[in-house]
């Protein structure tokens, strides 16, 4: 039995976000909607945001996927609410660094997302954790075109 390292991956805070997702749903009149899937595994996510004067006033996610992808999305919505959209994108960059095992800068006010640092030890699962952040990036870039 070798579930010790599993405990590093499936921290209780992650499973809490998975089982009790925050900001789950769709904003009907949002300013930004983005769909993204992970074609290799079938996970899919829809992000809807309400961005006013570059500030993320509200954000919700919907979709289906594994505990890591759904928990990560839930955590992301918490950490970017109320933030400037560019700041939110920078947080995504820091999150990617954390996934790659590089030095990163994630402050406490960003909420629970540092709990996902264990994912970097499971290379096959990094894409699960980054799905929602990639969706955010894709949506903002498409919107600014």
């Amino acid at each position: 039995m070798n579930f010790n390292n599993l405990n590093q991956l499936y921290r209780s805070v992650i499973m809490d976000h998975y089982k009790n997702p925050r900001n789950k749903g769709v904003i009907e009149d949002g300013t930004l909607t983005v769909d993204m899937n992970n074609p290799t595994c079938g996970d899919r996510i829809r992000l809807t945001l309400n961005v006013v004067d570059e500030i993320v006033e509200d954000v919700k996610f919907d979709g289906e996927g594994c505990s890591i992808s759904m928990a990560s999305a839930s955590m992301m919505t918490e950490s970017i609410t109320g933030k400037n959209i560019n700041e939110a994108l920078s947080m995504g960059d820091e999150f990617s660094k954390m996934m790659l095992g590089e030095d990163y800068d994630i402050s406490e006010e960003m909420g629970d997302i540092e709990a996902l640092s264990g994912v970097s030890q499971f290379p096959a699962r990094i894409k699960c954790a980054t799905l929602s952040w990639k969706a955010l990036e894709k949506g903002v870039k498409a919107d600014s075109k």
Partner: protein, 406 residues
């Protein structure tokens, strides 16, 4: 057949993964490679690596002999009438694409029907979708029963006088369904249609005789039958292949080349432009030897023992859902209560058990099953009932782990 002896030929199986003995249950994705296959390819690179069909020097002749003997080996293995009917390709996907592009473009007219099923791998759906779009043809699906099988009534009802091509898998990579290809070929031919079969999950596990099945095209891959990646086979009736245009042009496949026009050489090389997969063909021939030494019938029988044992044991795990028919090839696709298949696969991997998780390149089938993804355990000659027992214990621990209130 003795799996414990067979395992000695597979050096990769003798290792620990995450501190546990590796249990490899992912043969349907790719099989492991026995030493005789590795040795055959090493011998080629160490002793006679050279290009084929070109030079007159000794090594070139040996390489050409090795490559062409591999073709003869494949011919007799699937009982093709002639060696010209065996085309080496990159794999099953490339073989199906060759048929859809070359044969499909030749015979399909606007309004014709191409018949497939919902259990197909993406490799046997997307090329036909694209062909249908190019030619304004219609794609039709033979409906499946609730257990993921086809009935001959539905086969008869779907294939009609407008059907030009029936493209179907021999064995489903998700459900394990074994389709009655001979009977379906009879219906296709009675309607003046052609039949192309995806045999990737069949050839490694059972005896396949293309003349007995009476199919027009049959495709399979080396890496799922103990051979290397990067090689597969397209079998086609020579009278059809003769009429087909190549889809790749270049060295080896030409007859005469002028500044503005060229002519093609004869089968099978007409469809093998460029330097082919020489070491891989030689490896595939060694894999066929290995399979024939054990015997396709003995392999099928042993896999049936394993899969029936696994089905029975897995059903004892609370909360498990198993997809596919009772009578099946050596694979089991399943879900475990509300544990997502990725989480399940990660947990099993932490105990050294390799299973596949995801949509298995069969998104339409996942939709049909009403799930976004599943886990799959698949078995081969080197697996044992002891491994299945360990796997069951891992499944139970995984379920316990994820049902814990975090």
């Amino acid at each position: 057949m003795n799996a414990k002896d067979i395992r000695k030929d597979f050096p990769i199986l003798d290792q620990q993964v995450n501190g546990n003995d590796l249990i490899y249950f992912d043969t349907s994705a790719t099989s492991q490679t026995p030493s005789p296959v590795i040795d055959a390819m090493t011998a080629y690179y160490e002793a006679y690596n050279s290009n084929v069909h070109r030079g007159v020097h000794t090594l070139g002749t040996k390489a050409t002999d090795g490559y062409e003997q591999a073709r003869m080996k494949v011919r007799s293995f699937i009982n093709a009438k002639r060696f010209e009917e065996v085309i080496f390709t990159r794999g099953t996907t490339a073989a199906i694409n060759l048929v859809a592009r070359s044969f499909g473009d030749m015979v399909i007219e606007p309004g014709d029907e191409i018949v497939v099923t919902e259990m197909e791998h993406h490799a046997n759906i997307v090329p036909w979708q694209e062909l249908a779009k190019r030619k304004q043809a219609e794609l039709k699906f033979i409906p499946m029963e609730a257990d993921g099988t086809l009935t001959m009534e539905n086969v008869e009802a779907t294939i009609g006088e407008n059907t030009k091509i029936v493209a179907i898998t021999h064995v489903s990579n998700v459900l394990g369904t074994i389709n009655d290809i001979r009977a379906i070929a009879e219906v296709a031919h009675r309607n003046d249609a052609y039949i192309a079969v995806d045999g990737a999950q069949a050839v490694p596990h059972m005896s396949v005789d293309v003349q007995d099945l009476d199919v027009d095209f049959y495709a399979f891959s080396g890496h799922k039958m103990l051979g290397p990646t990067g090689i597969g086979v397209l079998y086609g009736r020579s009278e059809l292949l003769d009429d087909m245009e190549p889809i790749e042009y270049g060295g080896d496949m030409i007859d005469f080349v002028d500044l503005r026009t060229s002519t093609w050489t004869d089968l099978p090389v007409k469809f093998e432009a460029g330097t082919p997969m020489i070491a891989e063909a030689i490896g595939l021939a060694a894999a066929i030897d290995y399979i024939e030494d054990i015997g396709p019938e003995a392999i099928l029988e042993y896999e049936q023992e394993l899969v029936n044992y696994a089905l029975e044991r897995m059903r004892s795990v609370e909360g498990i859902e198993i997809y596919g028919p009772e009578s099946r090839a050596g694979l089991i696709t399943f879900n475990l209560s509300d544990v997502h298949p990725h989480d399940l696969a990660t947990a099993l991997d932490s105990e050294g058990v390799a299973v596949r998780a995801g949509h298995h390149c069969a998104q339409p089938l996942m939709k049909w099953l009403g799930v976004s993804s599943t886990a799959r355990a698949s078995f081969y000659i080197y697996n044992t009932t002891e491994e299945i027992d360990s796997f069951i214990e891992s499944l139970k621990r995984t379920k316990e782990f994820f049902s814990y209130e975090f």
